[in-house]
Structure formats: C-alpha cells, structure tokens
C-alpha cells in the first residue's frame, strides 16, 4: 500500500510541478485553508506578542520584588488589573513573564528532544540490525522509567538548580517518543527504491540519511514539534504547579495556577489563579489544535495519494 502511495506521488509530481512542496510550505497552506486552525494560529501569535513583547518592558527583579504592604489586592485594586499575590507582586506582570517562561521552556525542551530524537531515530531506522537493537533497548528502558517522579527528585538534589537544569532534566527523559516515531518512519523508507538507487550510485550513508530521507520527514517533524511543544508546556506547568518545576524566583504559569492548591485561595482569591489558568488553556488548546489540524491534513494527503 505504502509502496503504491510513493509511486503515484512521484508521477503526479512529474506532470504538475518539478519539485514537491516543502513540509513548511504545506503546513502554511493547510493552516490557511482551515479557518478554525487559522484562528487558533492567530491566537497563538497574539499570546506570543503579549508574553514575549510584554516582558520586554518588564524587569525580572521588579516583577518578583516582594512588597508585603500590597499583598492580596483584588481585581483592579490600586492599578493592579489582576490584583496581587501573597508577596504583593502584580499578577498581570507575573502572568506575562510566567507565560513567556513556560513557553520558552516548552520550546527549548522541544528543540533538544526533536534534534536528539531525529538523529537517534534516523540512525536506528536507517542502519537497522544491531545498531537499532541496541538503541531501541535504551529507548525501551528510558520509557519504562518512572520519569515524572525521577525528575522531581533530581530537581531537589541537583546543586545550583535553575531553569536551564530543568530544561536538561526534561529533555533527558522525553526524547524517546520522538526517536521511536522517526525510527519507525525511517525503517519504512530504507527499503524504498530511491534509497536503494542512491546507495547503488555510491552515495554515502550520511548523505542518504540527511539529504534524501530527511526531506521526507519534514512535514512529520513539523507536526511532532507543534504537539511536543504543547506537551512540554503541560509537563513544565505540572511540575511548577506541584512546586518542583521552575525555581520559585522564576515566574511560571504552573506556579500561578498552584495558588489554587491552597483551599483558601480557590474561591476567595480567584484572581491569583484564574488568569494563568485561562492563559494556559488558551495556549494548550490552540497549539494542540494547530498540531491536530496539520496531522489531519497529513493523514488526508496520504489517503488521497
């Protein structure tokens, strides 16, 4: 079935255009077509402008400065739109910085995980045999670890703990799903004619892997990146929510939502946790929607061909 897919694909490419559209172009086109996905994408852009743009005007030391005299102001009191927290910090400013930090952590972890996963998946899938067997045993092992508890413990025992360490800790454990995904795809490609032809004509393994197999992965990569970013933001905020994600001095959406962990705040002081909850909901719903839309488009294209 998949073999057929490829050959018809090639034929239509020859008759219509000389080059198949790149994964990135396809992604842009798909989002443009799907109006809900386009709306979701615009919302994401607005959130990015709000958090990244907004934090340009803020100083971290100022935002996290404690001023007990102004603690627990409600909505709109004394010029604080979303009130203040137990330390008199402005929730609106914390929201901007927290949003930016959570998104940044999500992006950084994803960048590392996708690079690692792609490399490892390519190597395992392309070479197969013993290389694959060894790599997959390691992947299996990392996957059966109780990752969440181990990360929590590590955040407390690592000396000089900071946001950078958190990124490394998360990346250490969550690259395996990506590696597995790409490995299975590459495995299905290694017997294809274009790979064999390239091999016969004397291309190096390196060249086949990065110049011939890799371009076929791009649209899959984009989908995986989008969904992984959403997933990683979820993991970071969960960790921060429990109190073991970003250090207390670094604002995060999870830390803000964590205020709801104290029954006293849930009903009496909603301004502490509601704005962050709404922002996080907006981020995860929209990013996931775009990811899903791309995924559906990818599936549909595969079915059509």
């Amino acid at each position: 079935m998949s073999q057929k897919k490829k050959s018809t694909n090639n034929k239509s490419d020859k008759t219509e255009v000389s080059l198949p559209p790149s994964g990135f172009k396809v992604a842009v086109r798909e989002i443009w077509r799907d109006k809900i996905a386009l709306t979701a994408f615009i919302i994401i852009c607005l959130i990015l402008i709000f958090t990244f743009g907004g934090s340009l005007f803020l100083k971290k030391s100022q935002v996290t400065e404690i001023n007990i005299a102004e603690a627990y102001y409600g909505w709109g009191q004394a010029g604080h739109i979303f009130g203040t927290d137990d330390g008199g910090r402005d929730i609106f400013k914390l929201l901007i910085m927290g949003g930016r930090n959570s998104i940044l952590i999500g992006l950084s972890v994803t960048a590392i995980d996708e690079t690692l996963g792609l490399l490892i998946g390519l190597i395992a899938g392309y070479f197969g045999g013993t290389t694959d067997a060894i790599i997959m045993r390691i992947v299996d092992f990392v996957q059966i670890l109780p990752q969440f508890p181990i990360i929590i413990v590590l955040t407390t025992v690592v000396p000089n703990y900071n946001a950078f360490v958190l990124v490394i800790l998360m990346a250490m454990f969550y690259w395996t799903t990506t590696a597995r995904l790409f490995r299975s795809f590459v495995l299905s490609q290694r017997g294809r004619d274009y790979v064999l032809a390239s091999k016969t004509s004397g291309s190096s393994d390196w060249r086949i892997m990065f110049h011939e197999v890799l371009p076929n992965i791009t649209s899959m990569l984009i989908i995986d990146v989008v969904l992984t970013v959403a997933g990683n933001i979820g993991i970071e905020t969960s960790l921060s929510f429990l109190g073991y994600g970003l250090p207390i001095t670094t604002p995060s959406l999870g830390t803000l939502i964590g205020f709801a962990n104290d029954p006293a705040n849930v009903v009496a002081r909603p301004w502490l946790w509601v704005p962050a909850t709404v922002l996080l909901l907006l981020i995860s719903m929209n990013v996931n929607y775009v990811g899903r839309a791309l995924q559906r488009a990818g599936d549909a294209r595969q079915r059509e061909n």
Partner: protein, 319 residues
Amino acid sequence: MWKTVLRRFLIMIPQLIILSMLVFLLAKMMPGDPFTGMINPNSDAKEIARLRQVYGLNDHWWVQYCRWVGNMFHGDLGQSYIQHVPVASLIWDRAVNTFWLSLLTVLLTYAIAIPMGITAGRHQDEWQDQAIQVFNYITFAVPGFVFYILGIWLFSFTLGWFPISGSVSASASGFWGVLGSRLYHMILPAILYALITTTTIVQYLRTGIVDNKVEDYVRTARSKGVPENVVFNKHILRNSVLPIVAFLGNTITGLLSGSMIIESVFSYPGMGKLFLDSISQRDYTTLTALILLFGILTLLGNLISDILLSIVDPRIRVK
C-alpha cells in the same frame, strides 16, 4: 504463547537490575544517610563514624548495593528519617488508598471510553461522532492539573457536592459507612481522572471500527446476507474492542505517574501524595523506596500490556 510470556519475563530481569542500580545511584545523590533519623543532635562525630563503619557505609558501593537489594528482598525498605517508622508500613497504608482510587478510575475509564468509542465509530462523521471528537480533543489538549483544578473548583467549592480533601472521614463507622465515605471521597477525582485517561482508548476504538468497516471480511459477511446489526456487533466490534484490552497495562502505568497530581489537588492520602510529602520533608529513604516501587509497577504495567496484546493479537507472538 508461553514462549512470549517467558521471553518478556527474561527481558524484564536486566531492566529490573538497571532500574535498581539507577535508584540506588539516585539515593546516593541525596544528602544524608540512614542515621540522620536515628541519632540525636548530641551524638558526637566519633559515634556517627563508628555507626557508619558498623553499618557498612564505608564499604565499596557495590557491597552496599548488594546489601540494599538483599534487604529489599526481605521486605526491609529502611527506616523513615522523619516519621521514625519503617518505610514499608508507611507506604502500605498509602498504597491501599491509591489502589482503590486507581481501581475505580480504571473501571470508570473503560465504562466511559468504550461506549463513546463505539458510538463515534458507528456514527462516523455524524453529529454524535463530532461531539465526541470535540470532547476528546478537550481532554487531550487540557493539561490534567488544570482539568482537576477546574473540576474541584466547580463541583467541590462552588456547588459543594463533593469533599475537597481526604479519603475516609473520621466519623464514618461500620463496613458500609466506611465504604460509602470512601466512595464519596473518591468519586470526583476518579471521574475527572478517568475522563482525562479516556482519550487514547476512545480514539483507538473509533479508528479501529472505522478501519474495520471497510475490510474485506465485513464486505463478505454483508454479501452473505448477515444482518447489519450482527455484522457490527459480531464482526466489527469484536475485532476492534480486543486491542483495547491491551491498554489496561498502559492505563495502570499512566495512573501511577498521574497519581501525584490528582492526589495533590484533592489532598488524597495516597502514594503520590506521600511522595510529594516525603520530598518536601526530605525523607529520602521513603523517596527511594517509592521510586523503586513506581519503577517496578511501571515495569509490571508494561509486562501486562505486552502479554495481553499477545493474547488478543496472535501475530505479535514470538515463533
């Protein structure tokens, strides 16, 4: 069949050994040693050094590792630094609570997911399917803890239908009283938890039904004149539901890693809460034992999944 199970068991042994080494390493990275909890501030340095010598803390790491594993086999998980009770009994009390919560969650998960998956698959692309897809999308996209917070805020704080913390109220007495109180405390977390867990199963079941609908054997059955109902219930459904069974192991694994968050939101005294409490109190012996336990349970969950899968799908058995 038995070959597959045996092979799977054999794979588990090295995994278990490496896991225990990793946990041991993690334990060594944590500050403090077993005497931090036993000695009082007045004990002098010489005494501590003597105790360390007696209990073999100056031995090679591998000697210590073997002794640690040996103790584990005797059920000796060490002494809690903070609570001054054996870790095993501490964990046991909490494990019972987590067990009941997980059991109820698994039951609810399947009770919700299977009808939903079947409806979605049967009425593919109709309004029922679209509604379920939207619901499924929400449970997939919303991070678990946000879902729980919104749930506890709405149902416990605002509407006051359910308790906000605990597992059994102290005033409950008698078998039915305790059972009722337990259920009353568990029902909201279990429902919320189950809703989050259903996503994969619903999706898998729906895809299975949709794919099976157009298979040749279904067409054959139809062309033989088998009634549509029988085609759906006997042919399509049976082939689509069986693989779901294999998710059981993964569901258990997922429940364990998620138990920390749900138990924290609902202040439910289970293993996840014990883990978080131990970490904030720096109770490292309890932590080490819990991580090892989580690891072993994850391993077992995967084992169960693989065995179930090989039962329902003979193709993946080892020849």
